[in-house]
C-alpha cells in the first residue's frame, strides 16, 4: 500500500516539558518502539514530532524536509491517540475518511481509499456503525484505519494498547506487527510495556527523564544493556544488581569494587557449586518459580522451573553477568 515512509531524523531536540536533548533516526520502513516509564518524556517526544509541542532547540527532519517549524497539518504525519479520538457524531466510515474529507478529496476516491484502509486493518464490516456502538478493540482498529488512509510520511502511535485487556493486547500486537510488515512505513510506537516493545520494535529507544538512554535492536537491548536503568527496566523480574566486591561473582571474572554486577534471574544457578544462601520467598507462576535467596546481605532472585523448586539452604552461582560502573551506571 505505501511504498515505505520517508524516514524520520531528530537532532538534539528539546521540548518544553520533558524532552531534554534527543537525537535519533528512524528508517523509512522501520518501526521504532519508544519505551520508558511514565514521565520519561516519550509521549512528549511523539507530540513534538507531530507538531503539537513546540521544539525549543534542535531540528526534526521528515524525509529530507525540515519540519521543525511547520504546523502539524503540514508535516504529513498521522497519529493514533491513546484515547483514539474518534468523533462520536460521525460514522466509522466518516471517521476514517475525516482527513480526506477536509482536504476536499472527491467522494468516489474517498470511498475507495476508506474501504482499502478498513480492509487492511480488518474493520470493513463496521463502516456504518458509530463509535458508541464499538468495543475498545474495534475502536482502536478504526483509529488505525484513519491513520492509514492518508498514507502519511510518518505514523505515530501513542500507547494505543494501554486501554485494552491483556488477551486483546497480545492479539493486537501481532496484528500491528503483521500490518507493518505488509504495509511498511515509518512508525514510531510509544509504550511503557517492555514486552510490547520487545515484540513490536525493529529497534527500541529506551527513554528516561527526557533523554534516550539506549537505542538498539531488541537483541541489543536485552543482551547488552548500556546502563543499569535499561538493564533493570527491560526484563521481568528485574535484573539483580550486586556490588563488585559482593559475595557473588561469575567465574573467571574479577570485578573492581567500584563496579556493579548485573545478573538476570535466568542466569542464577541454584545447587551445585557456589555460595551459601537461604531461600526467603518463592513465587510460583505456572511453570516458572521465582526464588528469592538471601546471600549475605543481598536478596537475589533466581528463575527456575517450578517443579524442582528449592527451599531452605541452597548454593548460588552465576552463569552470565553484565558489568556496570557503580557511579555512572554505564556498562563497562
Amino acid at each position: 500500500m505505501t511504498e515505505g515512509g520517508s524516514g524520520l531524523r531528530l537532532e538534539d531536540v528539546h521540548a518544553r516539558h520533558g524532552v531534554h536533548g534527543v537525537g535519533l533516526q528512524v528508517g523509512s520502513d522501520e518501526l521504532l518502539a519508544v519505551l520508558g516509564p511514565s514521565g520519561a518524556g516519550k509521549t512528549t517526544l511523539l507530540r513534538t514530532v507531530a507538531g503539537l509541542e513546540r521544539v525549543t532547540r534542535g531540528r526534526i527532519y521528515i524525509g529530507d524536509r525540515d519540519v521543525t517549524n511547520l504546523r502539524p497539518g503540514l508535516r504529513n504525519v498521522s497519529m493514533v491517540f491513546q484515547s483514539y479520538a474518534l468523533f462520536a457524531h460521525l460514522s466509522v466510515a466518516e471517521n476514517i475518511a475525516f482527513g480526506l474529507i477536509v482536504k476536499d478529496v472527491a467522494k468516489a476516491e474517498v470511498k475507495r481509499r476508506t474501504l482499502r484502509a478498513a480492509d487492511a486493518i480488518g474493520c470493513a464490516h463496521l463502516l456504518d456503525r458509530r463509535p458508541a456502538q464499538l468495543s475498545g478493540g474495534e475502536r482502536q482498529r478504526v483509529a488505525l484505519a484513519r491513520a492509514l488512509v492518508r498514507e502519511p510520511d510518518v505514523f505515530l502511535l501513542d500507547e494505543p494498547m494501554s486501554n485494552l485487556d491483556l488477551e486483546l493486547r497480545v492479539e493486537t500486537r501481532a496484528e500491528i506487527k503483521a500490518l507493518h510488515a505488509r504495509v511498511g512505513g515509518t512508525m514510531v510506537h510509544v509504550t511503557h510495556d517492555q514486552t510490547e516493545a520487545l515484540v513490536l520494535g525493529d529497534r527500541i529507544a529506551v527513554m528516561r527523564d527526557g533523554l534516550v538512554e539506549q537505542i538498539g535492536t531488541p537483541e541489543d537491548i536485552w543482551r547488552t544493556p548500556q546502563t543499569t536503568f535499561v538493564a533493570r527496566f527491560v526484563g521481568s523480574p528485574a535484573m539483580n544488581l550486586l556490588p563488585g566486591d559482593g559475595p557473588l561473582r561469575p567465574a573467571g571474572i574479577y570485578p573492581e569494587p567500584a563496579w556493579l554486577i548485573g545478573i538476570r534471574p535466568e542466569a542464577v544457578v541454584l545447587g551445585g557449586e557456589g555460595v551459601d544462601g537461604l531461600v526467603e520467598r518463592v513465587d510460583v507462576v505456572g511453570e516458572d518459580a521465582y526464588v528469592y535467596v538471601r546471600v549475605g546481605e543481598h536478596l537475589v532472585c533466581a528463575r527456575v522451573p517450578s517443579r524442582g523448586k528449592p527451599s531452605g539452604r541452597v548454593t548460588v552461582s552465576v552463569a552470565d553477568a553484565h558489568l556496570f560502573d557503580a557511579a555512572t551506571g554505564r556498562r563497562v
Binding site: P72, F81, S83, A85, F87, G99, I101, R130
Partner: protein
C-alpha cells in the same frame, strides 16, 4: 424511589406548587373574569379573549414579541457562540474579556435601560454622535432610535444583544469540556478553521446549543419590558415597542383590568409552549437523523 429522595425533592416541589402551579391556576381562572383587585371578580367566560382578538394594541404587541424573538434569538445565540469560541482559551487578557462579555447581564434592568436611554439620546448620546456625521455624509439622518417605530424596534434588539452573558458562560464551559485530542487530531489532519468549526465544534456543541435555543426563545417571548419601558415607554406610537409583557403590565397595573391582562398572559403562555414544542420536535428529528 427511596423515601429520602422524596424528602430532598420536597422543597423544590413545594416551591413548584406554590410559586408556579398555583399562581398559574389563578391566572388562568382570572383570565375568565373581570377583576380590578378592589371589587370581587365578575365572571366573563371567553369575553376577554374575544376582546383581545379585536384589540389592535394586543395584535401589535403579539407581533412585536414574535418578531423580536425571531430576530433576536438567533443573533444572541450566534454572538454568544462566537464570543465563546474566541475567548475560551487561556490567552492574554482572555479572562478580562470574558468578564466584560458577561458583565452586562449582571447590571440591574432599570440601570441597563437608563444607560441605553442615554446612549440612544438623539442629540447628545454617544451613538448618534458617532453615527450622525457618518450618516449625514450619505445624505440621511442618523437613526432616530427613540422616535421612529422601526428604529426603536432595532434599538430594543440592539439592547438585547449585549445581555448574552448567561449563554456565553455556558458555551465557554461547554467548549472547554470538549475533548482536546479531537482538536489535535483535526490539527494533524490539516483541517481549516472553518472545517473544524463546521465538522467538529458545532456538532459537538449541538446539544448545548439546542437547549440554549429553546431557553432563549422562551425568555425572549416573555421579554422583560423594563428596558423597553425605560427607553421607549412602549412607543413610538402606536405601540411599536410594546411587547406582550408590557401590554400585560399596562392593562393590569395601570388600567386595573387584571382579568384582561391575565387573558393576554394565557395567550402568551400558549404561544411560548407552541414555540418550544416546535423546536423540540425539530431538534429530536435532527438527533434521529444522526443515528
Amino acid at each position: 424511589m427511596r423515601r429520602s429522595a422524596w424528602w430532598m425533592l420536597a422543597p423544590y416541589l413545594i416551591g413548584l406548587l406554590g410559586l408556579v402551579l398555583i399562581p398559574f391556576g389563578i391566572t388562568v381562572a382570572m383570565a375568565l373574569t373581570e377583576y380590578d383587585l378592589i371589587n370581587p371578580p365578575e365572571w366573563l367566560g371567553w369575553a376577554n379573549f374575544r376582546e383581545l382578538w379585536h384589540d389592535d394594541g394586543f395584535r401589535t404587541a403579539l407581533m412585536n414579541s414574535l418578531v423580536f424573538a425571531a430576530i433576536a434569538v438567533p443573533l444572541r445565540l450566534g454572538i454568544a457562540l462566537m464570543l465563546a469560541l474566541l475567548l475560551h482559551r487561556r490567552a492574554f487578557m482572555a479572562g478580562s474579556a470574558r468578564t466584560a462579555a458577561a458583565l452586562p447581564t449582571a447590571v440591574p434592568e432599570i440601570a441597563y435601560g437608563l444607560l441605553w436611554l442615554w446612549l440612544f439620546n438623539p442629540s447628545f448620546g454617544p451613538i448618534n454622535q458617532v453615527l450622525g456625521p457618518l450618516f449625514n455624509r450619505l445624505g440621511v439622518l442618523a437613526p432616530r432610535w427613540l422616535t421612529m417605530p422601526a428604529d426603536a424596534r432595532a434599538a430594543i434588539i440592539l439592547m438585547s444583544l449585549f445581555t448574552i452573558g448567561e449563554m456565553f458562560v455556558i458555551l465557554v464551559a461547554a467548549r472547554q469540556a470538549l475533548p482536546r485530542d479531537a482538536y489535535e487530531l483535526a490539527e494533524i489532519e490539516d483541517a481549516t478553521g472553518w472545517d473544524i468549526f463546521r465538522r467538529v465544534t458545532l456538532p459537538m456543541l449541538a446539544p448545548v446549543l439546542g437547549v440554549l435555543l429553546i431557553r432563549d426563545t422562551i425568555m425572549s417571548l416573555q421579554l422583560s419590558f423594563t428596558p423597553a419601558l425605560v427607553v421607549t415607554k412602549g412607543g413610538p406610537p402606536p405601540h411599536s415597542t410594546t411587547y406582550l409583557s408590557l401590554f400585560v403590565y399596562r392593562n393590569a397595573f395601570e388600567y386595573l383590568r387584571y382579568g384582561y391582562a391575565a387573558a393576554a398572559t394565557v395567550i402568551m403562555l400558549a404561544l411560548t409552549m407552541l414555540a418550544v414544542l416546535i423546536q423540540a420536535v425539530i431538534l429530536a428529528r435532527a438527533r434521529q437523523m444522526r443515528r
